[in-house]
Subunit: 417 residues, 2 copies
């Protein structure tokens, strides 16, 4: 089984947006063991789209489309495929109901062109859209599988992951080969260094395969086994995991869908430890990231965003003389922020984040200099980072390091080993 991904939209060809859908779909197809040989991007033009489909039919048996399912007449993916494969478009009642509901819940009037979004290829399997209006679909013909998804990533991603991926996995079962992927997450080691240390494994890999993936300050290894049974594939992955852990295990923090934020929240939940944050350069991002994890309200009390000096003094009770002596971007102020917010919110842990996010220096501290203070029940430690990314990348990395150090400090304090 091999696939081609066709993204439809003139905004891609004009460079107004990046084709993140192709990356997302490729990652998941690769996890299923489906080869992707080509990505194509084509504009909102029926003739050129038809030509792209004709080319894809020759070189792939699964053709996956993103975009062009909206209500406007620029949106013509369904119409073009209907013509190419000789199918009618019919109204899907479930989709129509869901669109009507969408408008009703917003007290807005549904217009005629919105009904177009409920049209699907006759005989296709429909994927409901829980985050928008246009449903996705899969159409099986004798020679090909056509899959259509809406363009906005927040609609496509959950639809593919929870509806279409299991659909494809079920198709693959006929194949009698099981493909099982397992992802290991590492923090505190660079991609190049990690690769160097496991070079002999990367060179010798056959089954399972081992692929390094880099992502903003983290490294992942995806291990993928092919076997006749799930038990066999699981065993292959476990053996490889152990081999890798023997070399770089001390940097691993999680597996699969874990994030360093979710692991931190889990550790806090396990020990019923509450936390409050005082944020300067991250301006609320640390708390907003924690709040993405379900059930965080048991541990996250809240905190203070102290974007200017007065707030640090008045809201966190930091001595102005301390700021004047050491500057706002200093280990001393990070520690005082952590202690101040923990005291104010009466939590087990307080964290203070201060730094120069960039592009400018902050006093005599160059951009990318960040101090993190962590107060665990009175044990106060500070950490310094020298980051070299852009303003917002530095903020995101700071949040990840903050989580990393919280876990490290809890381990050092004997909460777990």
């Amino acid at each position: 089984m091999n696939a081609e991904i066709i993204a439809v939209g003139s905004e891609l060809l004009l460079g107004q947006i990046t084709n993140t859908n192709a990356q997302f779909l490729s990652q998941h197809l690769s996890e299923l063991g489906i080869n992707v040989y080509y990505h194509t991007v084509v504009g909102d033009n029926p003739q050129r789209l038809e030509e792209a489909v004709a080319i894809a039919q020759k070189r792939a048996n699964v053709i996956i489309f993103s975009g062009g399912l909206g209500p406007t007449k620029d949106d013509l993916t369904k119409e073009t495929i209907a013509r190419v494969v000789g199918r009618k478009l019919v109204t899907d009642e479930m989709a129509m109901q869901s669109i009507e509901q969408f408008f009703a819940s917003r007290n807005r009037v549904m217009t005629e062109n919105n009904k177009k979004q409920a049209l699907v290829l006759e005989g296709s399997h429909v994927f409901p859209n829980k985050n928008g209006m246009a449903p996705g679909m899969a159409l099986e013909t004798e020679t090909h599988t056509y899959m259509l998804f809406p363009g906005p990533p927040h609609e496509l991603e959950p639809m593919f992951q929870f509806e279409a991926k299991p659909y494809l996995a079920a198709k693959l079962c006929d194949d009698e080969s099981i493909i099982l992927s397992h992802v290991m997450h590492f923090f505190g080691i660079g991609e190049a260094e990690l690769e160097l240390r496991i070079q002999h494994i990367l060179d010798a890999q056959t089954n399972p395969t081992v692929a390094p993936l880099a992502s903003a300050g983290e490294v992942k290894l995806r291990i993928t086994a092919k076997a006749k049974t799930i038990a066999e594939a699981t065993q292959l992955n476990e053996d490889m995991t152990k081999q890798l852990q023997a070399i770089v295990g001390q940097y691993q923090y999680g597996v699969n869908d874990d994030t360093i934020v979710s692991k931190t929240v889990e550790m806090l939940q396990r020990h019923e430890l509450t936390i409050a944050a005082a944020e300067s350069l991250t301006a609320g991002l640390f708390q907003a990231e924690l709040a993405e994890i379900n059930g965080v309200s048991a541990v996250l009390a809240g905190g203070v965003v102290a974007y200017n000096e007065d707030v640090k003094v008045q809201q966190l009770g930091i001595d102005r003389a301390l700021i004047e002596q050491h500057s706002v971007v200093s280990a001393e102020v990070a520690a005082a922020m952590a202690i101040g917010v923990r005291d104010k919110f009466q939590t087990n842990i307080g964290i203070g984040l201060t730094g120069a996010a960039g592009p400018n220096s902050h006093g005599d501290q160059p951009p990318g200099t960040v101090f993190i203070g962590i107060d665990v029940q009175g044990d106060v430690k500070t950490y310094k980072l020298n980051l070299s990314g852009m303003r917002n990348t530095n903020r995101i990395r700071t949040v990840k390091y903050a989580c990393h150090y919280i876990m490290q400090q809890l381990v050092a304090n004997g909460y777990e080993k």
Copy 2:
């Protein structure tokens, strides 16, 4: 002149990286008025690359490659094109010197396979690489222009912008046509409704063209004019903008690179109004988004993340009886949060955000119910949202609505019209 962009690299097909090069190149080609009809991504496979080139030759006269110029045997873009067009590869002396220098300056020994990077297509125009080793090149044949660039964005981007773009611009001088794009941003109106209202314009469009683009709770219109001179193209775009504004102007908040957050910060800066936020469901995201805008520290004082009820009572001074009477997710509590945080941080504006982000209800309020309270110098208003997205989409939309309502309330208060 029309172009196709071919990115070469199996890491793209495995979803390990996003094809940002295609976006970058498309933006710059669009600025030059060169139409891009297709993007293609192909792996490190000589046969499939050759097939992709054969297809591109039929549908484009400028074929632009990124990637596959490195030292390893996986890197085969030059070799494949040499074969396709029947040219030899020859060593470029300047490139060889620069590679030797690269190793010398790092005290590293140059290996044999690095010499491969100094090979260029015979008769091509060479673009030096100031940020890496592999040079770029442009080869003119009777029918096509082939342009090759290294894959790493920090090498490709400056090389294209400062070397290849002027090269293409010089070629274009014969063509005498200018293309100019202008984007209008709207909030508070759906894509379908907006399109319905301007249907007669969309139906009649020729030059400039008008294309609607949707993105997470917002709608954009891209207006693109073709003309002989910049003045003429600008005039065409301005005339169309006025026509559109006459119909849906009340929903427009900005143009081109504006975001609803950046426009809000600008409005606050213009009137020297400071702001503080009390965030519950957004947990710091409102402040973190504002903090992405340069120069925000003049207006954003900071705020409180009140993730649980005790924090709302203790840190914001909200009467517990009020919470018990109306529930945490209510207009009354949103207003009290806005008033409380404005008082505490002594700012001109206070904003309170509370709601059920989902997936669960909050008391008797269904997921997606959000209340926003805004206190502008004592003028307190509340707003209710019924959102239907996922947990995190709802948070992002809440931030956008918060900005929308802040601007609306400032206009209502006479700050601007």
